[in-house]
Amino acid sequence: MSELVPEPRQKPAVPMKPMGINANLLGYIGIDTIIEQMRKKTMKTGFDFNIMVVGQSGLGKSTLVNTLFKSQVSRKSSGWNREEKIPKTVEIKAIGHVIEEGGVKMKLTVIDTPGFGDQINNENCWEPIEKYINEQYEKFLKEEVNIARKKRIPDTRVHCCLYFISPTGHSLRPLDLEFMKHLSKVVNIIPVIAKADTMTLEEKTEFKQRVRKELEVNGIEFYPQKEFDEDLEDKTENDKIRESMPFAVVGSDKEYQVNGKRVLGRKTPWGIIEVENLTHCEFALLRDFVIRTHLQDLKEVTHNIHYETYRAKRLNDNGGLPPMTVETEENHESNL
């Protein structure tokens, strides 16, 4: 079955719809070497990852990020500096780092949001965050739409947002719900229960169930979103993860000796809480989830879904053009 391009010289010829014919291979050709080729290329170019942490002060955000990436990502040492004032408004601080492991280079950007939820009046305190996220999409869109564009567009879009829930044991706060409602549509939100060492196992399970229920009732889809499951395999895997979210985590950057091994943990009069011990807290699950299995997927959902939604809205709203430039947005930010 062959399809012929009609007249030559037609302007431009319609590309044909290919009909797949399954051809049986006799003997090895080497098509599967493309995996190696691709792997080599990606190792050369390296990866970008931008993670945002949002939560009230004192919930252990910086410590958790340090524990996740096993290094001093945030320069906050264990004692909280009294000289550091709580900022009057929500600030957005993005700091870039380069991680290299096993020949793989990753440019990690941690976006901190000091001041979130810390004021007396917290109305609309998610707005600067939403604006920042949209600004990154805008930057990417501008680059993509250029005539002569760069080989690799710098990706500053937020791939993942860790939202820290206070371990009250009761339910979500209105601020939590408002934030997640607004932002679950523009970015992948992963809720975590911070400082989980204040809850017993039963309290933890109950709290998690309540949180999940509340999120469902309010129509908040956290990552991994049900609607983006591609096939049955994905669905079963993600269902399992969704059942155990939000992860109750404990962070620490101090090491202690336990059973002859040096482990990261928190030392209390009644024992040492091991961060990477699954019976103590779910940090290892979070780390594996975010870094070892779903990092690429986080990036892809951001690029293929959130970014595309932003782009479609943008191009539709103005018949193909932006009413404002990035410069004026920056001006606005300083006026807040």
Partner: protein, 423 residues
Amino acid sequence: CRSCDQQNDGCRSLSLSGHVGVDSLPDQLVNKSIKQGFCFNILCIGETGIGKSTLIDSLFNTSFDDPVSTHFQPNVRLRAQTYELQESNVRLKLTIVSTVGFGDQIKKEESYQPIVDYIDAQFEAYLQEELKIKRSLHSYHDTRIHVCLYFISPTGHSLKSLDLLTMKSLDSKVNIIPIIGKADSVSKTELQKFKVKLMSELVSNGVQIYQFPTDDETVSEINAIMNGHLPFAVVGSTEEVKVENKMVKARQYPWGIVQVEDENHCDFVKLREMLICTNMEDLREQTHARHYELYRRCRLEEMGFRDTGPENKPVSLQEAYEAKRHEFYIEMQRKEEEMRQVFVQRVKEKEAILKEAEQEIQAKFEHLKRLHQEERLKLEKNRRVLEDEMAMFIKKKAAAELLQTQALVSTPVNFKKDKDRKK
């Protein structure tokens, strides 16, 4: 410990105190790609009968069942077929595009144009998808040509002018790998001279063929060596011949057997190595990052978009869009106004005509009425006259009757008297 190296745009380099898991990233990426499947599109250009289909069959170890074409095609056409191949867990959507009737015509000036048009059409389709508002790029079936195998006739002398012309028009649009088809008709010594001649002709005419990349240390050496063996002299065969207790792909001649996979006999193995095992990904990347970007740039500039507006200030594509849209809108308004004027004019004219017609009819009506009136008066007069006459006639008749009855009354007496007299 903290290292404070300033590299990569001022980012700190972190030293890890344990295993994080970042090294699993390439695997994650690769697994996603495997799930999606790969696409590879090959374009074969060469004269009819030079062995394109046979070579593809040999390369992919399968028979793709292409019908043999005649030499009497009126113009050059392209035939595309897509196949789904699978090897271990890798699924490949392979599209082979072949020229039909290339080099067969008497007048060959137009021969390369359909090929250029086809390649441009694939770029155009991708560009259109990319420019859409609601797009689905990551599930888009990529039909852009990743590599072009150009088959050179094994004359042993030099390139034909058609070859030069075609390659020159394609070298900025696609990765070209020149190969010598049916290379078993050229002897080894002739082959060496032939290759040198071909390469020097290509260089002196400024044709940019695809160079195997030499920037990755693992493959740079072998790629560099292979670059020196271009153009590859290939022989294709799908038939198997028994040689030393093994069945190998070969061509059997009375004077010997040409084994396709023997590196001493031809460069088939080298081609397969380079095309598939080593550089398939690079070919795809070059197509996207270089050839497609060039096409896109030219096309957008053609459509009137610029990155820098007047006074050389950077203008985004969207601003240019708006300017164009505004222009278009004004033009539309003008046209609308024009049309409205024309319409109003026509309506006026029609109205005038209708009015005239109406007046005419009115006049006729009046005229007819008058006539009718006159007729009636005449008739009235006649009727009166007639009535008068009738009245007179009746009177006369009445008078006559009276006289008659009077006469009748008197005569019968006389008659009786007469009767009596007679007696």
